[in-house]
């Protein structure tokens, strides 16, 4: 197991380097010029080429792309992701400030997703082709296909504007102290929006896994021993049916983070996703790179965790 883990971590290194090269290339080739922020276009020609060259030099953009990449990589290996072009603050301090907010939102979203998906999936499987199965299946298909931004706006329209129950956007009203109810009512809508996709998918997985498990011989054995239906389902069937859900959890981490970009933007949630979107729009290369590398690392780690968890929950799987 340890050997396997080490092997996977070593394999991740070239993967991350390739991802970083591709990302670096793409953002540098994308239209737009970060120097434009420093030069008022009305005055650009008055400033002369020296001034523009000075800005380019200051931002490190006067060197060829490959040199810039290797410099960036060298700094990253020393733990330095550079400075944001426009805030002149270190990328890491910007991201560290926002990361806890994103993590909290993602965890609550995942929690909501699981709390709904697991029981609903079980009901669908046990009462297959019943009205409940159809209702939950329909909900999960709709949930999977709803565009996040539309769903978010609809929730705001209904719960903030029409009913006035929940705040429109933001993370808190009380800035002086941490008030649990204040935070709770702000997190409800964004967490539901962010958790929707995962909830729908998990419901389908749960249903499928449960259906497979309850047809197994050991379930029939358990029933024939005269165990109550509750014990059969919860103790014997559920534990085995949860395996795909546990694995899915690892994979859902990066998905939550990339989905958070849109949700955070709609609900004015001060997280890393919103920073990523703003950084892309303003061509803030160092900030974009820092942000994307975090997502890349989390994807790699997430899939590793998923594989390891798989071995933990399913004794049939062994990594050598």
């Amino acid at each position: 197991m340890l050997k396997y883990t080490l092997k996977r971590i070593l394999q991740a290194i070239p993967l991350l380097i390739i991802i970083s090269i591709l990302t670096y290339l793409i953002i540098n080739l994308a239209p737009g010029d970060p120097t434009a922020f420093f030069i008022n276009p009305e005055k650009a020609s008055r400033l002369g080429p020296d001034y523009v060259a000075n800005i380019k030099h200051h931002l490190g953009l006067d060197q060829p792309l490959h040199i810039r990449y290797f410099k960036w990589l060298g700094n990253v290996l020393r733990g330095d992701f550079g400075e944001s072009f426009f805030e002149q603050r270190s990328v890491m301090s910007i991201l560290w400030e926002a990361l806890p907010n994103t993590i909290i939102l993602s965890l609550v979203a995942e929690l909501i997703a699981l709390i709904v998906a697991i029981p609903a999936g079980i009901i669908c499987a046990l009462k297959r082709n019943s009205i409940w199965d159809y209702i939950f299946s329909t909900i999960s298909f709709i949930g999977m296909s709803l565009p996040t931004f539309w769903f978010g706006l609809m929730l705001i329209l209904v719960f903030s504007l029409k009913l006035g129950w929940l705040p429109t956007a933001g993370m808190r009203d009380n800035f002086d102290a941490f008030v649990f109810t204040d935070r709770l009512r702000h997190i409800i809508l964004p967490a539901i929006v962010l958790g929707m996709g995962g909830m729908a998918a998990n419901m389908r997985y749960m249903r499928g896994a449960m259906l497979e498990v309850i047809r197994q011989d050991y379930i029939r054995t358990a029933r024939s021993k005269g165990l109550s239906e509750k014990v059969v389902i919860v103790k014997h069937a559920l534990r085995n049916a949860l395996i795909p859900i546990v694995t899915m959890f690892g994979f859902s981490i990066p998905a939550l983070f990339s989905g958070a970009a849109i949700t955070e933007t709609i609900f004015a949630w001060p997280g890393v996703g919103r920073i990523a979107i703003e950084a892309v729009f303003s061509n803030d290369y160092p900030l974009v790179m820092g942000n994307f590398m975090i997502i890349a690392v989390m994807t790699v780690v997430g899939s590793l965790v998923a594989d390891l968890l798989y071995a933990v929950v399913d004794p049939r799987i062994k990594y050598e």
Partner: protein, 505 residues
């Protein structure tokens, strides 16, 4: 607690919903509207504009003295003006700040505005003397901006990294409001400064509530979570239906216009450009696309401007005149209905930038309006940067639809001067030696009446030449919750005297 869910109590605060996320609170480095909004509450300048856009003293004691050769600007500031930390503001702070802007290593976005300064002298604590390299009356406008930072704090900063310095995130200013707290991407809170030289603000402070979009900002007005925001044309009608909101309109110096590439074979003849202006139904565009908010434009000078000339050639919608002018210019209708001259068909592309819904619709309307003339216009909607760098900046275009914001000084050299280094926004490469001369003359005098004469003549020439077709002057609107009283909104300037407003709840 759960019953009063939504409505956030204002507690006497102005709660300003915005979608601009400020980048820095260093007045020397800021270049985005979010930063300027907040800096405008925390800092002041030597001068300011009054309701009628006259320049009047703010920190200064009187209007600036200009030397006979027009090369020296001298003014004094009031004694006893305090920074928010209690230290007195002196001429040394002004010199320090302006010298930073002038330093090319600082990379200030205002560098070009201060290029005409030779040096700055401070003979005593309150007197500032600015010596110019060349006469530049347009420079005066810079004295109305809040660009002054405290020397005793900022002299410790690395001048190449001003934004990184602590005071760029926790600024010490001299304005009516004091900085309290900035939560990135969430909000900025400012509170009254008791020792403000013009009297402490009458409200509890301002919360600059940062939302991700205009849509969210408007919803926050409807749910009464916030009590002031700017409303785009498309939403004015909706805001007006709410009994607890007031909408206050004003004209800005912003307009949308079409720029012709005068070096192209289609638009080198002014009769063709005049024909286009006759054939474009501006009234229809204003009503259909800008929801009737704003005004049909005749030129680049907004009617509210002090140097607006009403007596220039006008181009009321007239298809017959347009057709006649095109015939006269040699563009005859061909067998397929498209006009032809020397074997070349009148087929052009109109560019505009992606993401601006109104412009995207407007170019289609222009396409339809020019069809009956026998002119084929193909709209091309491009990414902002691509449009400028790959097409317009290198002269690879026929015509484009865009917008422009002018200053209120009347100096519009950047749009019309034929020298690229001066008329840097003359992207249609319009050349008229008299226009160049007029704008140069206007810069060389500080006499407003003289300037007015030059600007009047320039407007007449531009109306005749039509290097651009001006479509609409954009109408702007602020909406306030009625709990905010005393709000004042003026043409060209927007809202004013925020510190005098009172929030009743």
């Amino acid at each position: 607690m759960w019953s009063c869910f939504c409505k956030t109590k204002s507690n006497g605060y102005i709660r300003w919903a915005t979608f601009s996320d400020p980048k820095t609170l260093c007045p020397i480095m800021s270049d985005d509207s979010g930063s300027s909004d907040v800096i405008g509450m925390l800092f002041t300048g030597p001068y300011k504009y009054d309701k009628k856009t006259n320049m009047v003293p703010d920190m200064a004691t009187a209007m600036p003295e200009i030397s006979k050769d027009n090369l020296t600007i001298k003014f004094k500031i009031k004694p006893g003006i305090k920074w928010h930390d209690g230290v007195e503001l002196t001429s040394a702070d002004i010199k320090f700040s302006y010298d930073l802007i002038r330093d090319p290593q600082v990379l200030s976005p205002r560098y070009a505005d201060f290029m005409s300064i030779k040096n700055i002298e401070t003979p005593d604590k309150y007197t500032v003397i600015i010596n110019l390299k060349e006469v530049d009356s347009a420079f005066l406008d810079n004295l109305t901006n809040p660009y002054i930072i405290p020397k005793h704090i900022w002299e410790k900063a690395d001048k190449t990294k001003l934004k990184e310095f602590e005071a760029a995130r926790k600024p010490i200013g001299n304005g009516p409001y004091m900085f309290k707290e900035w939560k990135k991407s969430e909000r900025i809170e400012v509170v009254p400064f008791k020792d403000y030289y013009d009297g402490a603000p009458k409200n509890s402070g301002v919360i600059y509530d940062i939302t991700p979009s205009t849509a969210t900002a408007l919803v926050k007005m409807e749910t009464q979570e916030d009590n002031m925001t700017q409303v785009p044309e498309s939403d004015v009608a909706r805001m007006k239906t709410k009994p607890f909101l007031t909408v206050k309109p004003y004209t800005s110096t912003t307009f949308d216009y079409i720029v012709y590439n005068i070096k192209s074979p289609f638009f080198s003849d002014k009769r063709v450009r005049q024909a286009f202006t006759y054939a474009i139904n501006k009234e229809a565009i204003l009503k259909g696309i800008y929801k009737g908010i704003g005004q049909v434009a005749e030129g680049s000078y907004v009617p509210a401007l002090w140097c607006y000339n009403p007596n220039v050639k006008k181009y009321p919608y007239d298809l017959a005149k347009a057709k006649a002018l095109l015939d006269e210019a040699g563009w005859k209708v061909g067998p397929d209905g498209i006009r032809v001259k020397n074997g070349k068909k009148f087929e052009v592309k109109i560019l505009t930038n992606q993401g601006n819904k109104m412009r995207e619709k407007a170019v289609v309307l222009v396409q339809n309006q020019l069809k009956p003339l026998g002119i084929k216009v193909e709209p091309r909607i491009l990414d902002w940067n691509t449009m400028w760098s790959n097409y317009i900046d290198i002269g690879k275009f026929d015509l484009y639809y865009s917008g422009f914001i002018t200053g209120i000084t009347g100096d519009q050299t950047v749009m019309f001067h034929s020298d690229k280094t001066i008329g840097s926004f003359n992207r249609g490469r319009y050349v008229n030696p008299r226009i160049d001369e007029l704008y140069t003359l206007a810069k060389k005098t500080f006499d407003k009446n003289q300037q007015k004469k030059y600007f009047f003549e320039a407007q007449q020439i531009i109306a005749e030449d039509q290097p651009m077709t001006f479509i609409v002057y954009r109408g702007r609107n602020w909406t306030f919750n009625k709990e905010v009283t005393g709000t004042e909104v003026y043409n060209l300037l927007g809202f004013m005297n925020m510190d005098k407003w009172v929030v009743t709840k």
